[in-house]
């Protein structure tokens, strides 16, 4: 599902086209990772911007032999998500995120989508932290179970079974609350 991308091309300016490709490919993944993780569009945009800013600033530190670019990028994203929740835990309750406007869509549809995302975020917040993150990596970032195993300390089969249980539970709770 996910392309294992090469980031060492970013080290030189003459390969700028590769940066463009990486950006186009990875931006929706990172953004949706944070959307699934936080349930909030504005926060997802802020954290996505922070992830790419860090990646761009430290692009010289990436070493190809240490793993795929995707793994490196999502390591940054996960750390930022952890920091975000660490700071937020003391300030705001988890499910009090205000809805934010969605651009480029009819208002009703945008509001409905936002409400659904809020509802999903509320259900996700009831799951253990690890399951929340796995759901965001799988369905937001679109990573394979193998790629998720590479990012976490879990085995590929373990990732699969945890995700299966979490997804079933979420779906059942979604239906129950209708």
């Amino acid at each position: 599902m996910i392309a294992e991308l090469d980031f060492d091309t970013l080290a030189t300016d003459q390969r700028k086209i590769d940066w463009d490709c990486l950006y186009e490919e990875q931006l929706p993944r990172v953004y949706n990772f944070f959307r699934y993780r936080t349930g909030d569009k504005a926060v997802a945009e802020d954290l996505t911007a922070a992830t790419f800013e860090q990646a761009w600033r430290h692009r010289g530190r990436y070493r190809r032999h240490q793993g795929a670019f995707t793994t490196w990028l999502f390591t940054i994203a996960r750390n930022l998500a952890t920091d975000y929740y660490r700071q937020r835990r003391d300030l705001v309750p988890l499910d009090s995120v205000a809805p934010s406007p969605t651009f480029g869509r009819p208002a009703e549809e945008a509001i409905q989508r936002q409400e659904e995302m809020q509802r999903l975020a509320t259900l996700l917040a009831r799951l253990p932290e690890r399951e929340q993150e796995l759901i965001a990596l799988k369905y937001g970032a679109g990573l394979t179970n193998r790629a998720i195993a590479g990012l976490t300390t879990l085995s590929e089969s373990n990732v699969g079974s945890i995700l299966h249980r979490a997804a079933q539970r979420l779906r059942a709770e979604w239906e129950d609350e209708r």
């Binding site: 929706p28 949706n32 959307r35 761009w56 651009f103 369905y139 779906r171």
Partner: protein
């Protein structure tokens, strides 16, 4: 709809305006500076310009020098 499809339907493309703005912030276009027309130039160029101007004035004003430049002997 199975669990996978159910969870994937919340996926949403980022706002294009956000994507463009972030990209511009990450890779700002190179700054092009244009030297003003009357900007200071270095001393050597200034001297050469003055010599060229003096030579041009001499050629224009002196019939002798002009004829020597235009008509070759022989």
């Amino acid at each position: 709809m199975n669990e996978d499809d159910f969870l994937r339907r919340f996926w949403q493309a980022p706002d294009p305006a956000f994507a463009i703005k972030l990209k511009q912030e990450l890779t700002p276009p190179p700054v092009i500076t244009i030297r003003p027309f009357f900007a200071p130039i270095d001393q050597t160029r200034r001297t050469l310009n003055i010599l060229a101007l003096v030579l041009a004035v001499v050629v224009v004003l002196s019939p002798d020098a002009r004829s020597r430049l235009v008509s070759q002997p022989g």
